[in-house]
Each structure stands twice: as C-alpha cells, then as structure tokens.
C-alpha cells in the first residue's frame, strides 16, 4: 500500500469526523459498506477456503500405519487417497470407476480381477504395478513370519488393521501392461470387497526412494518376496527396508522438508502442517480421477475442548465440526447457532454392558440373568439418548446396529432380546437370586459423563433386586479391561460398518477383543462359517444365530446406539448427510463448496 492510498484514508478520516456533526438520528452507526462475511467479494468466487475443527493432532500421512492410525490422519487420507470403492452414508459400497474397476471372476476359489484406470500421483508419477504390489504386500502380510510366543520372525509392515482378509491370497498375477491384477484367495472371505483399504495406499516411488532403491528395484523385491512361515522364519533384508520406509517415512508433525511424502492421489494434497495446530490442504491440480475437489483450500484445525469447538464454530473460525462425544448440551448449543445446519444420525458405535465370565460373581448363569434383568435399558435411552435424538430406541442386537436396517431387523426377530430383557424385571431377578446379595463391580470410563450416568441408573435399579454394586469407574479403564479384575464392564464398541472381522475378535473363544472370556463352541463354529460365507443373506442368518446364543448365555446387553451429528456453516454446500463411519464428514469432500 503506497502513499496514494493513504491520502485517501486521511480524507476519509476527516470526512468521517465532519460527518459526526451531521448525523443525529435515533440510532447511531452502520457504515455504508455491506459486510456479510464470506459472501463479500473476496470469497464469492469458485474455490474458497473451508475450515474443519478436529479434536486430535495430525501425526502422519500414513493413516494405515499402527502408530498414526488416528481419526484426523484418516480424515486427511480421505482427501488425499482414493481406491477401488467408496462407502456411502448407509455403509454400502460404490465402485470408484475413476480409479479403477474390479470384478469377481470366480467363487471357488475366490478370484477377483482389478483393473487400474490411467491415474497418477500428484507429482505426476503414474499409479502402476509397483503401487499395487506394495499395497497388496502390506495388507496381505504375505511375507510375515513373526511368532509371538517364540519371539522370532518379523511382520514387515506395521499395518493398523489385521492382515486377515488378504492373508490367504496367493501372489497376484499382473497383465503385460501392469494395469490388470488378479488376486486368488486360498480360503473364501466375506469381506473381499473391502480388502484394499485406501488409507494404507502409499506411493511406491516415494517408499522406494526412502528405502534407498529405485521403483523398479522395489517391484523386484516385492515380486520375489518369500511366503512367510512363523515356524521357519527367514530374513528378507530388502523387504525389511521397504517395510521400514513404509512405516516411518510418512510420519511428520510439521511441514516436512522433503515434499515427496506429501504426494496425493485424491482431490486434495497436503500443503502445510503447523505442529499441533493445523494442517492445510490445497486442491490437487494433477488429479486424474472422477471426483475433483471444488475448493481451493481445506484446513483442519485442532481444538481439543468441545466448548471451544462450538464457540469457534459460532464465531466463524471453523465451518464444520463433527464431535466424537455428543451430549444434549453441546447439541442444543450447536442447534441454537444461526447460520449453522446440523445433520444428526446414529453412530456406528454402541454402548453395551458385558458380564465377565471369568469373575466369581458371574460364574453362575442365574446370577448373570438376574443382573441383566435389572438393567433399565428403556430408562437409560429415555434419559440419556432421547433428549438428543427423539426417535432413539433400545438397541436389541449385539451384532448389528439399528441403522444397518434389514440385517438388524432379522437379528432382533431371531435373538429374543426384546422378550427376555425388554423391561427390567426386578421380581424375576429376585426370584433367580433366591435371597443372595452378590456384589457386582462395574468397570467403566468415569471420564465420560454419559457412562457415569448410565452406571448410576444401572446401579440404582440393580440394588432394588438385592445386588451390591461397586463403582470401578476409571479414566484409564481400557488398561483394566484385559486384566479381568471386575465383574461387569460398561463401554462402547465402534463397528467398522462393513465386514465381519469383529465377530471373531469379540465373540470367539480367545478372540483379541473378547475381554469377558466368553466361550461357546456353537458360537465359535458359527463365527468361522459366517466369515467364509460369500452369500450375504445366509451370512445374516448365521450371525443372527450367534446373536441368539449370546442372549441365551446372558453374555451381556447392548444398550443403545450412540448419536452423532455434523454441524456445518450454511455458507458451505455439499455437507448434507451424516456419515457415521470413521471417514466421517470427509466421505464426500470433493462435493464441498463455498456458497
């Protein structure tokens, strides 16, 4: 700004002072220029800036790596990575033709053909055979030979999920031009359609560079990797280099010097990271897919405190917020903000009460049943969930959440939960107890007000039937979950929405998430069957059967499905549905624009 402008300024000041003497109306103020925030000239064009509030801090561009498997990193991945399929708000899969196509060519053995379109990374490098091989190698864990007991061998890529889905596949076969890949499963897997997770799709040329080799060399190493066998572990040092590069190269908390790790194949690309504060993404100009972004810039800001997020939204500092924990107050507050639209929906997470089969109190099935009979599920929903969502209802299945529709309905018809535990039955519980007054110690997260409230309601009701309820509330509850020193636990599971992996995790004997030491041979068998069953409707039947078993065994009770919402400034268009999965509001980021 030069001298010239300034003189204009001085004139304005003088004129303004002169104006003082002339105005004398009933109200004072109001300049003549219109101020409408984003509507004004600067932001009215195409493009524009959208800011989203985040709770956590960005820690790396590889959201598929165990240590950086964090919601905000996943959100960034949703904007900078795309794969063969997208998930809509109803958890249905839609092929992403802009990236490539896939089709099942055989059921037995399960064989799928993937074909890449002509797409590229943001630095111009083509997406090709090497990228696909790397992707498959991480997710299948083909060469993994680690043995936990013997502490030998190695898992080459530390991926956040499990290698479960692709683990039985053979080395994929490629067409001559490397565009077509055929994968054959050794054992059928119900989740084959979600096998290639775009979160862990990393550019092979960058990984190669970081591992100190060329992309061709990397491809050779991957093609020549040996099938891992925990019984006879073998060293594969070149592969180890690649795995290490994949694990570590993409971890950064501020803008890295080496811009290679910022490459993207999604509609946006990382531009700038301010440590602990924010991450700014710009439109990916080299995007070749079918869903280009409309905005110039998207910024994720880290604001940990829920109240602070709402105030920032009210103040226009952020345009979108999607909190993890929802309570009536925050929701009411957000709904009261003018110029903000709120989309509500059910989260894929649900709260549940599990009884510990390993504890003395609950060895006896009658005691388990008696305790479950006292749980005032309707009251919990009425007091905790209905104020947030009027049409909320008690969740009646351990397998499906109500927003999954048809399968949930089927499961509730079969499992008998409504009949057995619909209304609290204090008398029935007393009868089952026969005068005994067992002590029940309940573990829960007392850092979460909703859980504390739920505990309070369960406690009151159970004490009517003669139980003595002890509070094991602890902010570090997860630490205690696996050591089993409690009688019942109250916490939430987040279901990925698609896939069957959680069946074996939670309900199978010895499963990784089976903290209640539940064991039922029929259930174990059903889980294995369901997981290899490619026929969806039969699979639902099997899962409903598992559900029935859990209620009959008095495993525990599902309580309610958590409510979620996304709040958006009305200056943003494109955010019109609530997406409950882990991608959250970013699922259709390419459709966002600023009005």
């Amino acid at each position: 700004m030069g001298k010239y402008t300034f003189k204009g300024k001085a004139a304005v000041s003088l004129a303004a002072i002169a104006a003082l003497t002339l105005t004398g109306c009933a109200s004072v103020g109001g300049g003549d220029d219109s101020k409408g925030g984003g509507d004004s000239s600067a932001a009215g064009k195409d493009g524009g800036v959208v800011t989203v509030a985040e709770t956590n801090k960005f820690s790396g561009a590889n959201a598929g790596y165990t240590k950086t498997n964090l919601d905000i990193n996943g959100h960034v991945a949703a904007m900078t990575r795309e794969g063969f399929a997208n998930v809509d708000t109803e958890q249905k899969l839609h092929p992403n033709e802009g990236f490539g196509t896939y089709k099942k060519v055989s059921d037995d053995p399960l064989t799928v053909e993937y074909e890449l379109k002509d797409t590229q990374w943001s630095d111009g490098n083509k997406i090709d055979k090497a990228d696909m091989m790397l992707w498959w190698s991480e997710l299948s864990g083909y060469a993994n030979d680690a043995d936990e007991e013997a502490k030998t061998g190695k898992d080459y890529f530390s991926i956040a999920g499990s290698t479960d889905i692709l683990h039985t596949t053979d080395m994929p076969k490629f067409s001559e031009d490397g565009k077509k890949m055929t994968v054959t499963w050794g054992k059928p897997n119900a989740d084959w359609e979600i096998a290639f997770d775009s979160n862990s799709f990393m550019p092979a040329h960058v990984v190669a560079k970081k591992a100190g080799m060329s992309e061709d060399e990397l491809l050779k190493v991957l093609e020549n990797q040996k099938k891992g066998d925990p019984k006879s572990p073998q060293k594969q040092p070149e592969l180890e280099k690649i795995g290490k590069a994949w694990d570590t190269a993409f971890n950064f908390t501020s803008t890295p010097d080496d811009k290679d790790v910022l490459v993207s194949n999604g509609p946006y690309k990382i531009e700038n990271v301010v440590e602990n504060n924010s991450i700014t993404l710009k439109k990916n100009e080299n995007y070749k897919g079918s869903m280009p972004g409309k905005l110039d810039e998207i910024t994720l800001r880290t604001i940990g405190d829920a109240t602070a997020q709402i105030q920032a939204l009210r103040n226009g500092e952020v345009d979108i917020m999607q909190p993890n924990n929802v309570n009536k107050d925050t929701l009411d507050q957000v709904q009261q903000i003018e110029n903000v639209n709120v989309q509500k929906g059910d989260q894929l997470a649900y709260d549940h009460l599990d009884l510990n089969f390993g504890s003395d109190t609950f060895k006896d099935k009658d005691v388990r049943e008696a305790f479950l009979k006292t749980v005032p599920r309707q009251k919990i929903v009425d007091q905790l969930i209905k104020p947030v969502k009027d049409d909320a209802s008690v969740l009646n299945s351990q397998m499906y959440v109500s927003s999954q529709g048809e399968p949930y309905k089927k499961a509730t018809e079969v499992n008998g939960a409504e009949k057995m535990y619909g209304e609290p039955d204090i008398e029935g519980a007393k009868k089952l107890l026969g005068g005994k007054t067992p002590t029940v110690r309940i573990l829960f997260n007392n850092g979460n007000p909703q859980r504390t409230d739920t505990f309070q309601l369960i406690k009151e009701s159970a004490e009517k039937a003669g139980f003595k309820v002890q509070d094991l509330g602890d902010p570090n509850w997860s630490e205690k979950l696996s050591d089993g020193d409690y009688d019942a636990s109250l916490f939430g599971w987040v279901s990925p929405g698609v896939g069957t992996e959680m069946l074996s995790q939670i309900f199978k004997t010895g499963g990784g998430g089976n903290y209640s030491k539940y064991s039922n041979k029929d259930v174990d068998k059903l889980v294995d069957e369901a997981r290899t069953n490619l026929d969806e409707s039969k699979r639902v039947d099997q899962i409903a059967e598992i559900d029935k078993h859990t209620f009959e065994d008095a495993y525990g009770l599902p309580l309610f499905q958590s409510v979620g919402y996304v709040a958006t400034s009305d200056k943003i268009s494109g955010v019109d549905k609530y997406q409950p999965n882990q991608t959250g509001v970013f699922w259709n980021v390419s459709e966002w624009s600023r009005k």
Binding site: V12, V28, S158, Q311, A312, E479
Partner: protein, 511 residues
C-alpha cells in the same frame, strides 16, 4: 559478588537435580505408560516397541540416571548431544519443547506485562486513596478476578468479547437509548470511584457520562470499528494528552519548558507522519523498532535543547512523549490494514478469534499477520491479565501504604515538597523494590502456569504439553516441561535476589 553468584548457581544445580529426581519418580509412579495400548488390536507390536523406546524395562531410579545423562548432554554447547528422550509417540522432547516454548512465551508475555503495569497502577492509586470508593472498588474487582476459575472466565470472554462483538461488527448500530444507558452507567461508575467532595464527585460523574457518550457516538457514527483510524486529528489529540500527563507525572506542570518540549515532540511526530507512511508500509519489525527509537531520541533531544532549570527532566518527558507518538503512528498504520484483514477470505468478517495462535493458512504482509496475531492473542491476554491483576495490585498497595508511613516520606513532606514529588520520587520508587522480587518469581512460575488458559484457547504450549503428558503417563515430556520451568524459576529467583540487593542498598549479598 561473583563468588556469591557462583555459590548460588551451584546450589541451584543441586536443587534442580533433587527436584528433577522427585518429579521423575512421581511421574513413574503415577500410572502405567502402556495403559492406552491394552485394548489396541496391534498391542503385540506396539507394547514392545514402546517399552524399548521409553526404556521401561529399567527400574525408574536407574532410568532417571539414563535420562540425566541425556540431559547433561545439553550442557555441552554446539555438540548436538542434547537429548531429553522421546515422547511416547516417538517425538524428540527437545523438539516438542522448542515449539511449545515459543507458543507459551507468545501467550504470556503481553499478558504479564499488562498485568504488572495495570496491577501496579491500580495498587498505587488505591493506596493513595485508601478506604475510598475507588479503593474498595479496585479491591473488590481484583479479588473477584482472583477468585474466578480461569476456564470460567475464558468461556465468558469468548462469548462476550469474541462472538457477540463479532456479531455486533456485522451491523454496528446501537439505538440512542442504549448509548444513553451505557453512558449513564459509565457516569455512575466514575461517580462511585471518584473521591473528594460531593461536588467534585458529581462533576466527575457528569464528565464520565459526557466522555463515554462522546466516544461511543464517535465510534459508531464513523463506523470506526470496521474502519478504524487515528489520522492526524486523533494522533494530535492523544499526543497532546500524553504530553500533558507525562509532564504532570514526571516534571509537574510548573516546568513549562518540559511541557513545551513534549508538545513540540508531538508536532514533530505529526510532521513526519506523512513522510514515514511509505517506509512503514514496506517495512517490518525492524522498521518499527528503528522508528520508535528515533522518535524517542528526537523527543529527548528536543527536551534537552529546550533547557530550563532541569534539562534531564525535560529530556525524559519529551522522550516518553516521543515514544508514545511513535506508537500512535504505528498503531495508525495497523489500523489502515484492518479492513483488508477483516474482509480476507480466511477471516470472513469476524476478526476476534477464540482459538489457536493464528489463522491457519492465512498469509499477508507484516501488518496483516500482525493483526492476525493480535486478534488471536487478545482474549487469552485479557484472561491472563485479569487473573494476575490481584497479586500485583494488592502487593503494590501494601508496599505503597507501608512506604507512605515511613519517616523519610514524612520528612519529604515536612520539607514542603509537592505531593507529586513525594509520591513519584520518594514513595513510588521505593515501593517498587519489593515488587521486583514478586515479578521475578512470577515470571518463573508463568512458563508452566498458564496451563488452563492454554487449554481453553487451544494454544499448544508448555501447559498443554505437560497436561497431555501427565494424562498419558508419558514421563519424558513431563520432565522436559519441568526442566524448563524449574530452570527459569531458579534463574529468576537468582535475578530477584540480585536485583533486590542492587535496588535496596540495605540488603547486601554476602560476598
């Protein structure tokens, strides 16, 4: 003296060692650093990795010495051997600290300076008018601020000063009735806190009403909030005010030459106003600094040349005036950038921010980024200032009261010195001596003491780093934060003692 400092430093190091040992053991005892991994599906990989990275196999006492070894490396200059360990996410604590420190220092500096200046002023004023309405008013106000839970205050500030003010900016109109009511309230406050005879107090009340009314009217009628300016007229007006006040406080109005020198400085400031605009627009921080120094020096020179019976006094008065005139001109330059800043695509016309230390992705010239800093620091600074006000104002009030009862003050009065001379030259300076200690102690505690404010305003400073680490049972960042705060506290304690002995000749350090 040197041997005293040396002895103090050695003791300081020993104390620091002891304290760090205690903190280390407490952190180790406060929980299981692996707690968050037990439910994780990848626990088998993650647990051994963290145990190795944080050396958890070793018992805490031995681990402390490993840590100490790494920390000792920091004492070797330029050797790059400094290591304070890694956080549980694998980040170097030294890096984390470096970042957090800049954030915290940015956050607390202005707040502390304001709290000291405002607090001491309030304390002195309330001491001079002990048991008056003003004194009670200040006492109540400062105690109230001290009694407020900090996050409570922060949430209120965001609601009122940021959100509602920004809403108001969209359409800055008030009805005449509102303005009158606001001015009446201001008038009543002026009346209540003024002192003297009823007639004076009524007059003060009326003045309060008129001044408030005038200011509000002016601000609204010129849409000043959206297009703030000072321009020649307001710089001249404020400059003259500064010149008069500076003369009253530092020389007394009877020293006409000082007054004329100060007013002359204002004229010089106005004269160069147009000349420096280009320079300021293209310049940055250095330009501001040079300009301020030049103006101050020019003022001092004018004062010295104006002469009179006390050249030094004249130079001081005019120098201070020059300094403030420079600030006004710089402020005016910032104001010129305001509309452009407010209407940029990142700000959307809502300038006052509630979170973070800057607008992410916002870029602009020196003046625009400066404004961005300002809008983000405004709320936390107000918050910190209000919270810290009580300790300074009460302390300086007590100190001032004690001094005013001393013999030498009575002697000064008996000599027939004016009240201004007694207060400003004899009492005020001596009342500041014990305050130097308090200020030094306070700064020592501040680096780690703004935890809550940081958290509410989403500043990722030392406090946040510490709280996260304590929650996560992450020992190395806790130690890092402690080390910094501990060293700062020790250094400032030492400075406090030394300053005390320099300022108060009765106190002598044992050499």
């Amino acid at each position: 003296m040197t041997s005293y400092i040396l002895r103090r430093l050695i003791t300081a190091v020993l104390i620091l060692l002891g304290a760090s040992f205690i903190v280390y053991l407490m952190t180790a005892a406060s929980g299981d650093p692996l707690w968050d991994l037990y439910g994780n599906p990848n626990a088998q990989q993650l647990i051994p990795a963290r145990v190795e990275a944080l050396n958890l196999d070793t018992p805490p006492v031995l681990r402390y010495f490993t840590w100490l070894g790494g920390a000792a490396g920091c004492l070797v200059p330029f050797a790059d051997t400094c290591s304070l360990g890694v956080s549980r996410d694998g980040q170097q604590v030294t890096e984390l600290l470096g970042f957090a420190m800049t954030q915290t220092i940015m956050l607390v500096t202005v707040g502390t300076i304001l709290a000291i200046v405002v607090g001491i002023t309030l304390g002195i004023v309330s001491a001079l008018r002990q048991y008056s309405g003003l004194d009670y008013g200040i006492t109540f106000f400062t105690f109230l601020c001290f009694s407020l839970p900090s996050f409570w205050l922060a949430v209120l500030l965001k609601e009122v000063v940021a959100i509602q003010f920004n809403d108001f900016l969209q359409k800055p109109v008030l009805s005449m009735a509102t303005i009158v009511v606001m001015s009446l309230v201001a008038g009543v406050i002026w009346f209540l806190v003024s002192f003297g005879q009823m007639k004076t107090r009524l007059l003060m009340g009326a003045l309060g009403f008129v001044v408030t009314f005038g200011i509000i009217y002016f601000v609204l009628a010129t849409d000043w909030l959206n297009h703030p300016f000072l321009g020649i007229p307001l710089i001249a007006l404020t400059g003259i005010l500064v010149a008069v006040i500076a003369t009253i406080l530092m020389a007394g109005l009877r020293n006409r030459r000082a007054l004329y020198a100060a007013l002359g400085t204002v004229v010089v400031g106005l004269a160069v106003y147009f000349l420096v605009q280009d320079m300021l627009s293209n310049g940055g921080f250095l330009t501001i600094l040079v300009f301020t120094v030049v103006m101050t020096a020019a003022g001092a020179a004018i004062g010295y040349l104006a002469g009179g019976y006390d050249r030094g006094q004249g130079a001081r008065v005019a120098g201070v005036t020059g300094f403030f005139v420079a600030l006004l001109i710089i402020l005016d330059r910032f104001m010129q950038s305001w509309p452009e800043y407010v209407n940029s695509s990142h700000i959307h016309g809502r300038p006052i921010a509630t979170a973070n230390s800057g607008t992410p992705g916002f870029t602009g010239d020196f003046w625009a980024t400066g404004l961005d800093r300002f809008t983000h620091l405004l709320l936390p600074t107000i918050c910190l200032t209000l919270l810290a006000l009580a300790s300074y104002s009460r302390y300086s009030r007590a100190s001032m009261l004690e001094i005013m009862g001393q013999d030498y003050v009575r002697t000064a009065r008996a000599k027939g010195l004016s009240e201004r001379t007694v207060v400003m030259r004899h009492a005020f300076r001596n009342a500041l001596i014990p305050l130097a200690t308090l200020v030094a102690y306070d700064i020592g505690g501040l680096i780690g003491g703004a935890i809550i404010t940081e958290s509410v305003f989403a500043f990722t400073g030392m406090g946040q780093l510490f709280v996260q680490a304590v929650r996560n049972v992450d020992p190395n960042p806790v130690m890092g934060v402690f080390l910094v705060t501990g060293i700062v506290a020790m250094v400032f304690n030492l400075i406090a003692d030394l300053v005390y002995s320099v300022l108060d000749p009765r106190v002598r350090v044992k050499a």
